[in-house]
C-alpha cells in the first residue's frame, strides 16, 4: 500500500489546484501545504472533501484537525496527511 495514498493525495491536489500550479513542485511526504504548495485555505477544505469522498467517514478529517492548533495546521506536510489516512484504513489482509 506504501505510496498508494500519497499518489492519490497528489492526484486530488492536481484536481483541486490545477496541474499548472503543481508543475514546478515535486510533491513528496515532506512537502508542506502552506509554505511549499501555497495552498489556499478553502482549497485545503476542498482536498479534505475529496479525501472524505474517496475513503469515507472513517477518515474523520475534522476530528484530525480538532486535535491540532493553527500552527500545526499551517506546518502540516503531505506526509502528515497521508499518515493520518493510512492510520484509518483497514490493515491489509495477510
Amino acid at each position: 500500500m506504501a505510496g498508494e495514498v500519497l499518489d492519490e493525495v497528489v492526484q486530488m491536489l492536481v484536481e483541486v489546484v490545477g496541474e499548472d500550479f503543481l508543475l514546478d513542485v515535486e510533491v513528496g511526504p515532506q512537502t508542506t501545504f502552506n509554505e511549499d504548495l501555497a495552498l489556499e485555505s478553502i482549497e485545503f477544505v476542498a482536498l479534505a472533501e475529496k479525501l472524505q469522498q474517496r475513503y469515507g467517514e472513517r477518515i474523520d478529517f475534522a476530528g484530525f484537525l480538532a486535535g491540532m492548533n493553527l500552527d500545526q495546521i499551517m506546518t502540516m506536510t503531505v506526509g502528515d496527511l497521508v499518515a493520518h489516512v493510512e492510520s484509518r484504513l483497514p490493515d491489509p489482509v495477510g
Binding site: 501555497a38 495552498l39 485555505s41 478553502i42 485545503f44 477544505v45 472533501e49 480538532a66 493553527l70 499551517m74
Partner: protein, 242 residues
C-alpha cells in the same frame, strides 16, 4: 464536495459530524472569510457532537461570485434556501455572518434554536470596511496562513466587480429594538477586546438581559486569534456541555 444552486448562484456547502442531533450552521464573515474560517477553527470540535453545516457565501471561497446580492436581506434569503432541508438549527455567525444570522432568526420564527454572535458589527459603521482594505494594499495570494489577512485575489475581485461595498453601506444597521425581538432565543455574544465592535456585547446585553456576553482578548477575528478560548465557549453553548 457539496454544491447547491439556489437564487441564481452555485454555493459550496460542507457538512461535517454526525447525522443525528440539532444541526449547527456556521456562517463566516465577508471578504477574507470562507467555510475555511470555521473549518480550521471551531467547527471540528462542534462536529464531534453535532451535525455542522459550513457554507461559502456568494462571492467567497468556492461559491459563485455574482455581481450583486450582498445585502443582509438577500443573504438571509440565500441562507433560507441553503438550510431548507434542515430541522430547526443553531447558528454561529462571525462578523457579517452574525448580522445575517440575527435577521434570519427574526424573519424565520421557529427555525433558529440558538444564536452565537461572534464580534457582530452592530456598533460601528460598515463603511470602515472600505478604508480597511485601502490601507492594506493590493491583492496577493490566499494561503493557508491567510485565514485572515490582507485582501486576496478573490477579495479584490469581489470588491472591484460586485456591489458588495455599496450593498453593505446601504444596509440598515442592526438596532437594539431588533435584537430585543430575539428574546426567547438563547443568545451568546462574544466580542474582541481590541475589536471596533467591542461595544456589541453591551448592546446585546442591554437588548437581551438573558444573553451570555463575553469579551475575549483579541481583535475582530476571534475564531482565529482566540481559537483556544472561543471554541470551548461555542461548544458549551451549542452542544450544552455534551
Amino acid at each position: 464536495m457539496g454544491y447547491m444552486s439556489v437564487r441564481g448562484a452555485r454555493f459550496h456547502v460542507v457538512d461535517l459530524g454526525p447525522e443525528a442531533g440539532e444541526p449547527v450552521v456556521m456562517l463566516h464573515g465577508l471578504f477574507t472569510g470562507s467555510a475555511a474560517s470555521w473549518y480550521f477553527t471551531a467547527a471540528p470540535a462542534i462536529a464531534r457532537h453535532r451535525p455542522v453545516r459550513l457554507l461559502d457565501w456568494r462571492g467567497h471561497g468556492l461559491s459563485e461570485r455574482t455581481p450583486s446580492g450582498y445585502d443582509s436581506a438577500g443573504m438571509v434569503s440565500d441562507l433560507a434556501e441553503l438550510t431548507a432541508g434542515l430541522p430547526p438549527f443553531a447558528i454561529a455567525g462571525h462578523s457579517w455572518g452574525a448580522v445575517v444570522a440575527i435577521r434570519f432568526a427574526l424573519g424565520n420564527p421557529g427555525r433558529v434554536a440558538r444564536l452565537a454572535l461572534i464580534d457582530p458589527p452592530v456598533t460601528a459603521p460598515v463603511k470602515r470596511t472600505r478604508r480597511f482594505f485601502r490601507d492594506r494594499g493590493g491583492p496577493r495570494g490566499t494561503q493557508l496562513s491567510d485565514l485572515v489577512g490582507p485582501p486576496t485575489r478573490g477579495t479584490r475581485m469581489l470588491i472591484d466587480h460586485t456591489t458588495v461595498l455599496t450593498d453593505l453601506a446601504a444596509d440598515p444597521p442592526v438596532t437594539e429594538a431588533e435584537l430585543a425581538r430575539l428574546a426567547g432565543t438563547p443568545v451568546l455574544a462574544v466580542v474582541g477586546s481590541r475589536s471596533p465592535f467591542r461595544g456589541a456585547a453591551d448592546l446585546v446585553g442591554r437588548a437581551l438581559p438573558d444573553a451570555s456576553c463575553h469579551v475575549l482578548g483579541g481583535g475582530h477575528d476571534l475564531h482565529i486569534s482566540a481559537k483556544g478560548r472561543l471554541t470551548p465557549l461555542l461548544v458549551d453553548f451549542l452542544v450544552g456541555g455534551a
